[in-house]
Symmetry: D2
Subunit: 335 residues, 4 copies
């Protein structure tokens, strides 16, 4: 950690900070610049080190020189992780393709979707049984009945089932039916839920919060890893910016950034990441070109009559076309 | 709802949308513009109306003409709500002042803080017993022991106790000690938790998520109101923007905006809203000048040695000075 | 234009707005909803129509139902435009590849770069002779001497020369040497400059301002088109968001969005769009996969010793590798 | 400057960076941490130092330890600057109040506005004669005729005239009539214009660009100061964020921040900063409470019939009320 002092910091303030640094068992080196002084604090930081130093009189800013996450870090595990569930594989050169409806609505809707995903070459099935909804007046999902349909769809197609869990009290139930537990963007910092999915031992798809920084995102993953569960996939689904012609802004630079910082696979969600069906295809293909380890795409047999997210859902035909072109790009770049 | 069609929408598409609108029991009026057609959908919208229409071929955009929230709306209740707990009152011309440490750390720390808040003219005491922390490696709070200290501080000072509840399973416990349940920014869309604090019947301080729109914020309040609990205060604590010299950007325009849209009191948090002790005073006074119904401010007997948030905590002297000047402004504007 | 009235708007206010709408020669239709009234204003809007209506008492919001730009619009010209300058072509299925250093620094540096661009299959050469710099203390460019070197590089390689013009008084000078005038992000709303490059008749590469909305971007293009110059390329180079691990956030969804709204070609700048050399490759390939009509990439013979932008410049080898993979993707998707 | 190396940087890379640092005439100190190495570079940085080091292999990040601006800095001039033009004074405890219409439209409109500003206690008159407009089809201002009316209004009322200059070629003309040259947000990084207003010797009101960082804002001021013109006022007028219920987000934390970093006066524009008349009052009073050195507010005799910005303009009565309450707060805080 580099502690940058204010230009007018007094010698007493500088010494007080240095003493505090050493009280944490670290080594402090004082460097007097032409304009101000900085103090390098070398060693393993504990608990409240940063917050404590940050509040000292005369301190202007702190610059971390190592990442706050550990187990998620590429520095701890240099090889990329691969997550494999049934026929679905993501990471280490494998691209996992997940498709399916926003919400599970009926047997007919779900099974036909699963078949279409499978036929197009997908290996995972998404479908929400518990739906977090912005308004208390919106459709909240089919709950356990939806989970049963997901399990039935797996039976018929062999696809790995991805579904969201919204609350700690539902984790056991969802685990009975799902292959991969999805933590939604709104719950990315619901720490109790992160601990619970960590303890479950199931693979987790962790969605990035709409205004989470990368450090916050990786620290959320760290909560899961810290429970002994190393089966975590990171899902970039767009951030909130001033842009209003898309629902969120999908930053594909997250792919090279995360690949450099962490060994965990990176999955892209071009449906939430754009919010418009007509944009999903181009961003899906782009994500594969940028090196994504997987895609999760909303599709529906009849988008205009979907219970949720119809405006960003592909038809079966659109989904198949997207899959074809993603695979072309994947092959071209593998040559 | 106004449905704006694409410029090249076909007559068939227009008729299909109009028919769908009427299938929801609404009246549709087709207006042919020089460049494109719009369809007005008049009547009470149900469940998935918006999402359904949005996915129809030929539809360019939907413009809501009424707010998605109901009970929070000023249109339902025209007079401002007042929340009163012990000596604390916010709304309807009353400004409630809440001070206290980020985390409860010890009896000594908490009781001295409570006395300083009381002496400065505050009416509420804040203090975290359950702490949501970005990193799993940070101090997570004193839990029930902290709650007990909060109750003891109330006994001694008469201040109303505000404390955060992070999970549904803790609601009963926290209710035994607290006067006001605080829902943190990271949990603003944790819908199960919103329902649980709604059912508790206790007053709730709902913090705005760092990237929540106003509609999302008011719909989160709606979840609580919808459980029959109308004791909700809205807390603006800053949004995430490109600014990096403050931790968050504190938009005081939220005060006039919310006062126009909702009857619920608006509380400002200048500590999280700036992230730097030296800015807290100016923004606190400004918030009162802009018509805030209350303030919640972090203070600590010894900020450099605080377990959390020391860099944005005032000393007792700074807090007292801020209180004095806020009250001066309050009186000047009441004349 | 749809005028949405406040819920408590009076009949007099509604009539006043309707009268004002008709005073502009438009047809007004009043639609009484269950909660509020909306007024449709049909016909060609002139000058201050929107601003005038927006300020009337009782008006809540205005919803435009047609785009504010005309000549840039796909509704005016349905076929995509192609810009062709020498061997460089962008649009209508052609992808134009532009490479070169941020700043022209010397004959040796520029000529070697131009040869490397040409060898890798590029068709345009970038290089700044007039440099807009955030600090008055930074290198400001070689000015006319730099332009001469650019012209010499064109002579040797046949590449089309792209260079920035910063001020109206330089337009004539730059036109004597350049093939394409670049308007930088910081000048996107420098209207006098837009008019001047419009009058020049030269092809223009217009960069998006870091916080420009799409409407603002297309209206800036409209300033150029309005001078009778239809050779405009739109360059997405990233927007300013809360993300700090990239210099800007590069939203590739701009590609499908702009392709739907406008006939003008869309060029992506992955160098400024990420700000880190190691990310440029992945985003360049992704942009081609998403359907970009061109790329503009910073490269340099010796990035660590570049006068500007070395941290986001590719080496010749990296550039060649990026070109190879972009072309692989282009071919795979053309099959 | 602190140079943070990548964790896996080689000894050769570290030595190469240290050598480069010293080649700039600086002193380098290598600090070996437990996880990585940092290099402190001490001394006066020149030109491309930062960019050069940033591009070296093995460099992870650079942390500046001094501000990039010099003359604007509080470290160079510790006392706050006061700008005084006729009866208008801002800074050093004085609050300057500027009111007036967005655009000069007619003698009647402007003179009546000036009288209303004066009667309410204002000391400056704003009015645009050259209008930068997002659309080429909007009203572009009365140009020189407008300037003449502004000079006439000054004659009648004694108010200091503030008006925008959009292009270097207009600087001389505008100087003949105006007291204070305003540089608009869209031109904040039009460096030629900054140099030209710097050379003019007139006081300048520099508006912050909608996505400018504070360093960029202060470096733009530095361009003006660097021409020997120290009469610069900084105007915060709101930044672009995801908020859509206000036109921009007005961060009043800019006031304490700028007061700490720079000696230049800080003026707040609550009209553009909110974009809605009904919010202007609350934010104006809040700005004074937060310590602003001045306000610039749009007002108009008949907002619904204004040529521009009517939706954010106050009536004369509203303006007078705002002035009264701002002065009450100013007095209360001066006690």
């Amino acid at each position: 950690m580099i502690v940058v002092m204010e230009q007018n910091a007094t010698e007493d303030q500088i010494q007080a900070v240095a003493a505090k640094v050493e009280s944490f068992g670290l080594k402090s080196t004082i460097i007097n610049g032409t304009e101000r002084t900085v103090i390098a604090a070398i060693g393993e930081k504990r608990g409240s080190f940063k917050e404590s130093i940050e509040s000292f009189p005369g301190v202007s800013a702190l610059t971390p020189i190592s990442a706050p996450y550990k187990m998620a870090s590429r520095e701890v595990r240099t090889e990329p992780s691969t997550i494999q569930v049934g026929s679905f594989t993501a990471g280490g050169g494998h691209v996992g393709y997940v498709g399916g409806p926003c919400s599970v609505e009926s047997e007919e809707q779900l099974i036909s979707s699963a078949r279409a995903v499978k036929a197009a070459g997908g290996t995972g099935l998404r479908g929400g049984a518990f739906k977090p909804r912005t308004s208390p007046y919106s459709f909240q999902g089919m709950k356990e009945e939806g989970l049963k349909l997901l399990a039935q769809a797996r039976e018929e197609t062999g696809l790995a089932v991805f579904t969201e869990v919204m609350a700690t009290e539902d984790v056991d139930l969802v685990c009975r039916y799902a292959d991969v537990l999805q933590v939604g963007a709104r719950n990315m910092q619901n720490y109790r839920l992160l601990e619970a999915v960590g303890k479950s031992g199931k693979p987790v798809l962790l969605k990035r919060g709409a205004s989470a920084t990368m450090d916050e995102f990786l620290l959320a993953a760290e909560y899961i890893l810290n429970e002994g569960n190393d089966q975590v996939m990171l899902c970039e689904r767009g951030i909130r910016t001033f842009e209003s012609h898309t629902r969120f802004t999908l930053p594909l630079a997250s792919i090279p950034y995360l690949h450099r910082r962490t060994h965990l696979p990176v999955i892209i969600d071009p449906s939430h990441g754009t919010g418009h069906t007509y944009m999903v295809h181009d961003l899906a293909v782009a994500a594969v070109a940028a090196g994504a380890d997987g895609l999760i795409i909303e599709m529906h047999p009849d988008p205009p009559n979907a219970q949720s997210d119809g405006y960003q859902s592909q038809t079966f035909e659109q989904f198949a076309e997207t899959m074809t072109r993603c695979q072309k790009v994947q092959r071209a770049l593998a040559e």
